[in-house]
Symmetry: C2
Subunit: 238 residues, 2 copies
DNA sequence: GCGCAATGGACTGATTTCAGTCCATGAAGG
DNA sequence: CCTTCATGGACTGAAATCAGTCCATTGCGC
């Protein structure tokens, strides 16, 4: 941890813009694809609507979509009932040789732990509608039956589903964001079958705890689950 | 809680832009002033540097600073050893009649609880350098001796100081952001002397727990402290 | 005193981004 | 068939934003 901890004046102000609108739009859409929010073959919202959601003009959004289409992430169809669809199979990502800071690795992992364990606890404490329970179980089934090459997005989707049960939109956003960041790191290390099996068991444990409203157990399950990938990441990258 | 919880496709993508660069820059700088990151009379970084921190061109930053100067939040001095300074006394804020969503109130409070309690716990678990301990105590003294009209910024500064001890820059950012949002809400309700005294005691308790490394006590103190303002806010706004 | 140097102030032209408009496509439904 | 209409595709002119340059001011050290 090498933070500029003291001298308030030295704390840099958090950026307002991280790049141009085009780049950020590409990144955001890609993030949603990688997290499996839009699974293979599903339709994205119409451009006009998506542009509004992203707070960006349709022209800018279209540039971003065109790039993603050229890169094979998206397919467009014109005409009524057409639209923009997530590709059936996402292209291999050209490993971003960029090694990322090690300090940043710990930062992401720590923050992930904070938000995801809280999400698990709050989900367990919430009173769930039958629909909510069904949604959670469906997400669990999805990730359980996922082939190894579709595991990560479905895993992310599952964890976001848990966060949604917490009822806090800010928490959902935080989980999604930190997942996306962690996902970038995870793409640089191999996916081990043993670890995958272990994950499934932990997912079930988490769901069980949430469904029976056991907040402590839910939090513990979430933390145990996270620690697994933390160890992997530290091993391969640290 | 009225979240669009299911049907992933319906989850809107998180905005990339929340407004134009100018507005966001004003907001960000104002946020830092209100949080007391730049206390009365202190000097902000030079424009060229600040623009870089914010990821915005100097022209845009200057427009924002000009507005804030016109509104009495800032004072500029030219020449070497000149600069832009936080005004000695911040203008009364023109209460933004805007009532804000009630659902959003709960969302902010919930997320604040998540990040701040985690920050308190992590701060207590961290091994603190003497400098860090001194910094924390200094922040405590500051808020302790604050007059009622300077209480809120120093209070925010104190809580951010705690978060800094956690060693996670993401957590610090999250605390600062949620504080700023809560601060907007707090400005709409009166500051009660009794509540203020209560706060001071809770601050001491939190600091004690952090300094002796008692994570459970630190978290408990933080939660107790937050619940105080939560009740106030719900009472006046809910 | 004098010049150095760091700062805010002001301008210019290029680039990005925007809002708005109209066109092209093509499945659904008659 | 033919019409309908929600969608992607393409263009325009305006506005915002940028990077870069030069100017104006002023306290400090020589």
């Amino acid at each position: 941890m090498d933070m500029p901890q003291f001298d308030a004046g030295a704390l840099p102000m958090r950026p307002v813009r991280r790049g141009n609108a085009f780049e950020e739009t590409v990144e955001r859409v890609l993030e949603n694809l990688k997290l499996g929010i839009y699974g293979a073959g599903t339709r994205l919202p119409p451009e006009r609507e998506l542009a509004a959601q992203l707070g960006v003009s349709r022209a800018t959004l279209r540039e971003a979509l065109a790039d993603l289409q050229a890169a094979g992430y998206l397919v467009s169809r014109r005409g009524r009932y057409g639209g923009t669809f997530a590709a059936e199979v996402l292209p291999e990502r050209p490993v971003p040789a960029n090694q990322g800071d090690a300090g940043d690795l710990e930062d992401v992992l720590l923050f992930r732990r904070v938000v995801e364990s809280a999400a698990a606890r709050l989900a367990a404490e919430a009173t769930l509608t039958p629909a909510a329970r069904g949604h959670l179980l469906a997400a669990l089934e999805e990730v359980d039956h996922a082939a190894t090459d579709t595991f990560r997005p479905k895993d992310a989707r599952f964890h976001i589903a848990v966060a949604e049960l917490s009822g806090s939109s800010r928490l959902v956003a935080a989980v999604a964001e930190v997942r996306a960041q962690a996902s970038d790191l995870l793409d640089r290390i191999p996916l081990l079958q043993a670890n995958l099996d272990h994950s499934q068991a932990q997912h079930r444990e988490l769901v069980d705890a949430v469904l029976r409203g056991d907040a402590d157990a839910a939090e513990a399950a979430a933390v145990a689950h996270l620690e697994g990938t933390e160890r992997l990441l530290r091993g391969f990258l640290g």
